[in-house]
């Protein structure tokens, strides 16, 4: 129980660090602060997708419902973080490029991930029988998972093919000095721990809700 409060304090320090300790990147002013929250969200979105795909493979191999339960829980959390990453991303884009969305490669890949999650849950809601739902969504998440690496090569081409003159992209690779990167990676670790804690809770709640409790006990 104590390590949870330790984690609580750790995250407070990260937030303090993000706002007070870390310097701002040149040319971006205070908006760089969002970096410490936007990028971990995007990372968790991908991590959750990976976790979900791994549990899907386990489900197909072992046909145990618990794996499907874990896969869908991870996907649900992943969806939340994908939405968060998309919103924070477009707010930041608004500050820097004065437009909420212009298919910058990073924005497009997060958006495609959002499409995959949306399709995954659309499929889950279209199937009513439990085992079939588990089986079909497991297969879909594996196929989607295989497609993602291709997107890394392919997505930069969207910008070229849609509006050939390359967009001015000051953000590029933000060069971080040591103070900034410590807070940045601290935030990464913090968010990953947060994700696994939320995943643990979600799985327990889902498992427990399968038991039928008589009103008495």
């Amino acid at each position: 129980m104590w390590w949870k409060s330790l984690f609580g304090i750790y995250m407070v320090l990260i937030i303090l660090g993000a706002f007070l300790y870390a310097p701002v990147a040149k040319g971006l002013g205070e908006t760089t602060r969002i970096l410490f929250f936007h990028v971990p969200c995007a990372w968790i979105a991908t991590l959750a997708f990976l976790v979900s795909a791994v549990y899907s493979i386990l489900y197909l191999r072992k046909q145990k419902m618990i794996h499907d339960l874990k896969a869908s829980s991870a996907a649900q959390i992943g969806l939340v973080f994908t939405i968060l990453a998309t919103i924070t991303g477009s707010i930041w884009a608004k500050q820097i490029w004065h437009s909420y969305w212009n298919w910058d490669p990073r924005e497009s890949s997060i958006f495609i991930l959002l499409l995959i999650y949306a399709a995954y849950f659309a499929l889950r809601s279209a199937v009513d029988e439990q085992n079939q739902k588990a089986r079909l969504s497991a297969v879909y998440s594996i196929i989607a998972f295989v497609t993602v690496p291709f997107l890394i090569f392919v997505v930069p081409r969207i910008v070229e093919s849609l509006h050939p003159d390359p967009l001015i992209n000051p953000r590029g690779k933000v060069d971080m000095d040591s103070r900034m990167s410590t807070v940045f990676f601290g935030s990464f670790v913090g968010f990953t721990a947060l994700f696994f804690w939320m995943l643990y809770l979600k799985i327990q709640i889902a498992r427990l809700s399968q038991f039928k409790f008589k009103p008495g006990d």
Partner: protein, 69 residues
């Protein structure tokens, strides 16, 4: 648990008035503390909700374990 909250409160206050007093004139920089406190509040809310859930889950799990074996 109560002790924890008060401790965090003091951390925030000391930090903000330490920085605030020296830079009161630059209004733009004082805004950053507004964002900071909001973020802290959001985080504390989320954190306590997770702890609350954690305790509830533990309670229900123990009850289920008792019934199962």
């Amino acid at each position: 648990m109560k002790v924890l909250i008060s401790m965090m409160q003091t951390v925030v206050d000391t930090v903000s008035n330490a920085m605030g007093s020296s830079q009161l004139d630059q209004t733009s920089s004082s805004d950053i503390y507004v964002v900071l406190t909001i973020t802290l509040i959001v985080w504390c809310g989320l954190f306590f909700y997770l702890v609350y859930l954690d305790r509830q889950v533990k309670k229900v799990k123990d009850r289920v374990e008792i019934k199962e074996n």
